[in-house]
Symmetry: C2
Subunit: 151 residues, 2 copies
């Protein structure tokens, strides 16, 4: 996959992009393994059935992971440095959900060359699952970069 890096000077308030990705059973297992987050609400169907969610839910931080991917592959693109992440989890994602992470540039901080973006994550039914903000340093120059498909 190729992606274009958009440097600070080329970004405009209002620029937007979306990143679409399914959350699979394997993603939840891999996230639990790499993080050490073995919360039974994510892994244990019997435990999760007793909660108000009435079944397993996806780790909220997997939504943060999609935001990170959206920044790195869509806007501002490869080479972006993530400075600050905030995300409010409004409704749970379920395994098999196809999430759409929408980014929009809301502020250019001229003296520091930082950019702030709003974040909204929706599921395939257009339900808003999470909203937040990201502060980043955009990539240093405009270039097309070939990204690893299977890291």
């Amino acid at each position: 996959m190729k992606a274009r890096s958009v440097p600070f000077d080329a970004l405009k308030v209002g620029d937007e992009s979306s990143f679409i990705r399914e959350v699979t059973e394997g993603d939840v297992r891999a996230f639990a393994q790499l993080s050490g987050d073995t919360n039974p609400v994510h892994l244990d169907e019997d435990y999760a059935a007793q909660t108000p969610f009435k079944g397993r839910i996806v780790h909220g931080t997997i939504l943060n992971a999609h935001v990170s991917a959206a920044l790195a592959t869509k806007l501002p693109g490869p080479g972006t440095i993530y400075l600050e992440a905030s995300l409010r989890f409004r409704k749970p994602a379920r395994i098999g959900d196809v999430l759409s992470t929408h980014l929009q540039v809301t502020e250019k901080i001229e003296d520091k060359k930082f950019v702030r973006l709003s974040v909204e994550v929706r599921n395939q039914d257009h339900i808003v699952l999470a909203t937040g903000l990201a502060l980043v340093i955009p990539p240093p120059k405009s270039e097309e970069i070939v990204l690893a498909d299977r890291p």
Copy 2:
């Protein structure tokens, strides 16, 4: 591994806990795979060598993942529901760093039964890599839960 769930009524402002975990090469690859974040600053040594970091850095969201694990396995423990995550990335983590994620209860929101915690992530040299806040719903009751070692 066993972990104890601490419900709202048993939590006190000032309660604290730490979660320690190494970030491995495999974690970075697994994170890239599950998120789709194939930013070359994390995966491509040649690209990363040209950045101000002079080498590959760990995805910031892996620090969020450790925070999630700290909440789920340490304080308030298994069954915790993550409502809001904010994290400021101050210095990059490197592959092989052993991160210590420290949580402290800063506020109990009585009417909603939510709890706010401060978050600080340090590396093995005690350098602060990230600071932030977490808002959670603690587990419903005090219980000891056996967590999956290999999800």
